[in-house]
């Protein structure tokens, strides 16, 4: 089992930055983890402004999260909560 499995399992709901071996950077919140993948969902960003009355945090489509293979992780860092 990947050394990252327990790290992820114990930190579900936390914002994280993962760099995979191909150099790709993933920023998101840990949603769940299984033996092979950690699943992230987008972090809410607040860039301010005033809306027309419609606002759906993450409501633009379920399943927008993505999986990252545990075996492909080069580095994993937890981000502070105030980050988002």
């Amino acid at each position: 089992m990947s050394r990252y499995y327990h790290d992820c399992k114990n930190n579900i709901g936390r914002p994280v930055k993962i760099v995979t071996r191909d150099g790709k950077v993933h920023r998101g919140m840990i949603e769940r983890v299984n033996n092979t993948h950690v699943f992230l969902k987008p972090m809410s960003s607040n860039l301010g402004g005033y809306g027309y009355g419609f606002y759906r945090p993450w409501g633009f489509g379920a399943g927008l999260g993505w999986g990252v293979a545990l075996g492909s992780i080069a580095t994993l860092a937890f981000l502070p909560f105030f980050f988002w």
């Binding site: 987008p42 301010g48 419609f54 759906r56 633009f60």
Partner: protein, 272 residues
């Protein structure tokens, strides 16, 4: 005043589209948010993309080419350009870039409650989200609402960390009052009439009055504006409209002048 040629960005998007949803999300983010980086401070293309999606930007979909094509045919960009120059003259407001995109027409609440229309405004930029079925006057109403925000924010001259719930109530109330004045009650947002005066008086005492000083950056601010849990839906929006319309009923004042009056004065001279 500039209506940005997002039609060219959209045209490029339709030509570059690939097979999968995630590929198209990526193309959308790079194409649109790459251009938008200059208009936001300290934000990545991911941040901007997510923020716009949350506020009503379309998500890649098999029908989006058709919707975009329909928008080109109706030349909403030209309508926006004419309208914004009239508004600028009427209110002597700032010159702000306007970005027009398709809205998320696959989102049922957005279609049901807003007829597929959404927007997002800052003191220095405006985003409009519409569909290929948006009527000319609906676009004019949206632009009136959003540009009224830009003018108000410039007049308030407050930083993000200084703006509070009272400012937001008056901001939304002014914007819809402007829509009523220019286009009539028919074009008012659904949230202006969702609660009766009596209901609003109770909500005011319970939820709004004790929280007028809450800062925009706090989570509670948006919960009071949009509703959340026990907090009634669109509470702040509806309350703001009641405050500002009662102010206009009592005072003989133009929108030009009202835009420049402090939030606390408008509240004090209203029925609330």
């Amino acid at each position: 005043m500039t209506v940005i040629e997002t039609n060219k960005w959209l045209d490029r998007y339709t030509k570059k589209k690939k097979r999968t949803f995630s590929q198209n999300m990526d193309i959308q983010r790079k194409l649109f948010c790459g251009h938008l980086m200059d208009y936001f401070e300290d934000a990545t293309t991911d941040d901007i993309h997510l923020h716009l999606l949350n506020h009503g930007l379309f998500i890649p979909d098999p029908l989006d080419k058709q919707v975009i094509q329909g928008m080109f045919e109706k030349d909403y960009w030209k309508i926006a350009k004419i309208e914004i120059s009239k508004l600028l003259q009427a209110w002597d407001g700032p010159e702000v870039p306007v970005f027009l995109f398709p809205s998320n027409y696959t989102n049922k609440p957005l279609m049901r409650e807003f007829n597929g229309i959404a927007g997002l405004s800052y003191h220095n930029k405006i985003f409009l989200f519409i569909t290929n079925r948006t009527e000319k006057n609906e676009l004019r109403a949206l632009l009136t609402h959003e540009y009224n925000h830009s003018c108000r924010l410039i007049a308030l001259n407050k930083g993000q960390d200084e703006l509070n719930l009272l400012d937001a109530l008056i901001l939304e109330g002014l914007a819809e009052t402007a829509v009523k004045q220019r286009l009539g009650s028919k074009h008012l947002n659904k949230w202006t009439t969702i609660y009766s005066k009596e209901q609003m008086e109770q909500f005011w005492k319970k939820w709004i009055k004790p929280n007028l000083e809450i800062k925009k950056m706090s989570r509670q601010h948006d919960q009071l504006m949009y509703g959340h849990g026990n907090i009634p839906k669109w509470l702040g929006y509806c309350c703001g409209y009641y405050i500002v319309s009662s102010y206009f009923e009592k005072k003989d004042i133009s929108m030009y002048d009202a835009l420049r009056i402090p939030s606390a004065t408008i509240l004090k001279e209203s029925n609330f």
